[in-house]
C-alpha cells in the first residue's frame, strides 16, 4: 500500500494562547492537485508551515509519505508567499532558481554544472529563459512568481506546497502556472496550493480542503464546495459564489 502524500493527525497550533488551527485531521492521497481554501486568517499559511516543520504544533503529528518531515526533506518543494522575501536582495533570477538545488547539495557543496543546467531548464519551462541574469527587483510580480516556481521545479520533489502563487500575477502568468500544475500532476506529483478564488477552483483543482481554524471539509472539489460548507467557512458572505 502506498502511503498518503500528507497525513496530519489531530494537529492543533496556537500563537501564544490563540488557537489558529484546531484539531486538524487530514489525509491527502498522492497524485492530487489540492487547493487549500478559506477566508483570510483561516490558518492556510500556518497549516503549510506546520506540515513543513516551520512551526511547532501544540499537539498532533504530521507525516510526509509515511515518515516525519525531517526524513523527507528532499521529496518536498516549497513556494512561500512572494511577499515573504526581500526582492531587493542583490541577486539575479538564475541564482534564485539555483537556490532550489541547495537542499540536494547539502552543507558546503556548491552548485555544479548539472545544477546550472537544471536551473536554466526550469527557467525555460516557466517562460523566463530570457531573464536569467535579470536583477530580481526588476522583475514584475508575475515574473517573480514564475522564478519561485522554477526554483520549486529544480527541487525535483514528489510533493509541492505553494502559498498563494496566483496573487498579484497577470492573466498570462496565471495560465502558465495552471498548465505547470497540471503537468506536475500528470507526472504523478502531489501539489498543494493555497488558493482563494472560489470561481476558478473547479477548473484548476481536483481536490479541495476547506479551512477556517477548524477543518470544514476535504475531498474532491465538487463534494467539498457545497453551499452548506461554504457557509460554515465564510459565514453568510460567500453564498453568491455558489451558482
Amino acid at each position: 500500500m502506498t502511503p498518503p502524500a500528507v497525513a496530519v493527525k489531530d494537529l492543533t497550533l496556537a500563537y501564544r494562547d490563540t488557537p489558529v488551527l484546531w484539531d486538524i485531521d487530514i489525509t491527502i492521497p498522492q497524485g492530487v492537485l489540492l487547493a487549500i481554501v478559506g477566508p483570510n486568517g483561516a490558518g492556510k499559511t500556518t497549516l503549510i508551515k506546520a506540515i513543513l516543520g516551520l512551526l511547532k504544533p501544540a499537539a498532533g503529528k504530521v507525516e510526509i509519505l509515511g515518515k516525519p518531515y525531517q526524513q523527507q526533506i528532499k521529496k518536498v518543494g516549497y513556494v512561500p508567499q512572494r511577499g515573504t522575501v526581500d526582492w531587493d536582495f542583490p541577486t539575479d533570477a538564475l541564482d534564485v532558481v539555483l537556490m532550489g538545488r541547495y537542499g540536494h547539495l547539502g552543507w558546503f557543496k556548491r552548485p555544479g554544472k548539472k545544477d546550472y543546467a537544471l536551473a536554466l531548464d526550469a527557467l525555460d519551462r516557466v517562460g523566463m529563459a530570457d531573464f536569467a541574469s535579470r536583477q530580481i527587483s526588476q522583475l514584475s510580480g508575475g515574473q517573480q512568481q514564475r522564478i519561485f516556481l522554477a526554483r520549486a521545479l529544480v527541487q525535483d520533489a514528489q510533493i509541492y506546497f505553494m502559498d498563494e502563487p496566483f496573487v498579484g500575477v497577470d492573466a498570462a502568468t496565471e495560465k502558465a502556472i495552471v498548465t505547470l500544475l497540471k503537468e506536475l500532476r500528470k507526472q504523478g506529483k502531489t501539489v498543494i496550493v493555497v488558493h482563494h478564488d472560489l470561481q476558478t477552483l473547479k477548473e484548476y483543482f481536483d481536490w479541495a480542503l476547506l479551512l477556517n481554524v477548524h477543518q470544514i471539509a476535504i475531498g474532491p472539489v465538487e463534494e467539498v464546495i457545497t453551499s452548506d460548507n461554504l457557509r460554515k467557512a465564510y459565514g453568510g458572505r460567500s453564498a453568491f459564489f455558489v451558482s
Partner: protein, 367 residues
C-alpha cells in the same frame, strides 16, 4: 616595518574583518545589531575583569563575546514574546548593558586602564607599541596578529557557508525547509560579529567597528546587485577608507579612527550621488533626460501633424512657445536637442522634420 605601515596594515585587516559579517547584517536589515553588540561587550569585559582581576586575561574576551551573544538572545526573546519591532528591541537591550558597563567602570575601576573613551574611540596609533613576541622574535603589533586571525576565521566561514548564508538571508523559510537551520546560521553570524567586534574594539574602538561593519557594505549595496560583488566591493571600499583615513589623519594630525570612519561616510555619500544604479544624481539626470526626450517627441508629433496639414507657419520656434505652453528657453533647448538628435533641421526660425524624425514621431504615436 615602520610603525606607520604597521598601523595602515592593521587598519586594513580590521576593516576587512568587519565588512564581511557586515554585509549580511545589512542584507538582513539588522545593521543596528553591530552597534548593540559592540557596546554591550563592555559589560562583559568589566564583569570578567572583576572575576579574574587581570586586564590581559583571554577570559575577558570570552566574557565579551558571551555578552554579545546574550544581547542577541535577549533581543530575539523580546521580539518573540513582546511582539516588538527589531530596532525597538535592540534599542531596549544594549543601552542597559552598556550603561551597566560604564557604571561599573566609573564606580569601581577608576584607576585602571579601562575608560569609556578608549572603548568608544580606541587608539589604533598605539597598536605598534604592543608587540607580539614569539621565541624572542618581534613579529609586529599584537593587534595585527589577533585581527589577522579573526580575518582568517571570517574569510574561512564565508567561503564555507557562503551558499547557506545567502539562502538563509534571502529566504529563511526555504532555508529551514531544506535543512539549513536559519536560527543556527543567524547565531553563527552574530557570534562572528561579536568576536570581530571584541577583537577590533581594542584596536580601533567601537565607533569605528560599527562604521566599518555598516558603511562599506551599505555603499557597496548601492553600487552592485550581486552578492559576491557586494562583498568584494565592501572589502575594497573598507581598505580604501582605511588607507585614505590614515593619510587624512596624519595630514590633519587628527584621530585615525575618526578619520577612517569619516572616509567610510564620504565613500557612502559619493555612491549615494553617483551610483550608476540608483544614485541621486544619476536618477536626477535620467529623469531630466527623459523629460527632454519626451518634450522632443511631442514636438516631432506636432510637426508631423502640421506637416500633414501643410500649415508651415506653425512650425516655428516662436510658435512652439505658444502652442505647447513652453518657455522660450525650454523651447530653444528642445529644438536644439532635436536637431542634435537628427530629428529635425532648422532653417532660421523654421523647423523641418527629417525622415528619422518622422519615424520617431510615428513610433511615439503608436506607443
Amino acid at each position: 616595518m615602520t610603525p606607520q605601515l604597521e598601523i595602515i596594515i592593521t587598519a586594513c585587516i580590521v576593516s576587512t574583518a568587519c565588512v564581511i559579517p557586515g554585509v549580511f547584517l545589512i542584507l538582513r536589515r539588522v545593521a543596528l545589531m553591530s552597534d548593540a553588540i559592540s557596546h554591550a561587550i563592555l559589560m562583559g569585559i568589566v564583569i570578567m575583569f572583576f572575576i579574574v582581576k587581570d586586564l590581559h586575561s583571554p577570559l575577558l574576551m570570552i566574557g565579551a563575546v558571551a555578552t554579545g551573544i546574550l544581547t542577541v538572545l535577549l533581543t530575539e526573546w523580546i521580539i518573540q514574546s513582546k511582539r516588538l519591532k527589531e530596532d525597538a528591541a535592540i534599542g531596549l537591550v544594549f543601552p542597559v548593558f552598556f550603561s551597566i558597563g560604564v557604571i561599573l567602570i566609573s564606580r569601581y575601576a577608576g584607576n585602571i586602564h579601562l575608560d569609556q573613551d578608549a572603548v568608544l574611540l580606541g587608539e589604533i596609533a598605539f597598536a605598534p607599541f604592543n608587540r607580539f613576541l614569539f621565541l624572542g622574535r618581534d613579529l609586529g603589533p599584537v593587534a595585527m596578529w589577533s585581527m589577522g586571525a579573526i580575518l582568517v576565521m571570517n574569510l574561512g566561514l564565508l567561503l564555507l557557508f557562503y551558499k547557506e548564508l545567502k539562502l538563509a538571508t534571502f529566504d529563511k523559510a526555504l532555508a529551514a525547509t531544506v535543512g539549513f537551520s536559519p536560527v543556527l546560521l543567524y547565531y553563527g553570524l552574530m557570534t562572528t560579529v561579536s568576536i570581530t567586534a571584541v577583537g577590533a574594539f581594542d584596536a580601533v574602538g567601537s565607533i569605528l567597528v560599527v562604521a566599518l561593519m555598516i558603511t562599506p557594505p551599505s555603499t557597496a549595496y548601492l553600487l552592485t546587485d550581486r552578492l559576491s560583488r557586494m562583498i568584494v566591493l565592501s572589502v575594497l571600499i573598507g581598505i580604501a577608507s582605511a588607507v585614505s583615513g590614515y593619510v587624512m589623519a596624519s595630514l590633519l594630525d587628527a584621530s585615525i579612527a575618526g578619520s577612517i570612519a569619516t572616509m567610510t561616510g564620504a565613500a557612502f555619500l559619493i555612491a549615494l550621488f553617483f551610483s550608476p544604479k540608483q544614485g541621486l544624481l544619476t536618477t536626477y539626470l535620467r529623469s531630466k533626460h527623459q523629460k527632454t526626450d519626451f518634450a522632443s517627441k511631442m514636438l516631432l508629433v506636432q510637426l508631423m501633424v502640421h506637416e500633414d496639414q501643410q500649415e508651415d507657419f506653425e512650425t516655428t520656434v516662436t510658435h512652439m512657445v505658444h502652442h505647447m505652453d513652453w518657455s522660450i528657453k525650454f523651447s530653444k533647448k528642445i529644438a536644439r536637442y532635436s536637431v542634435e538628435k537628427g530629428y529635425i533641421t532648422r532653417n532660421q526660425d523654421q523647423l523641418f522634420l527629417t525622415p528619422l524624425g518622422r519615424e520617431v514621431a510615428r513610433a511615439a504615436i503608436v506607443h
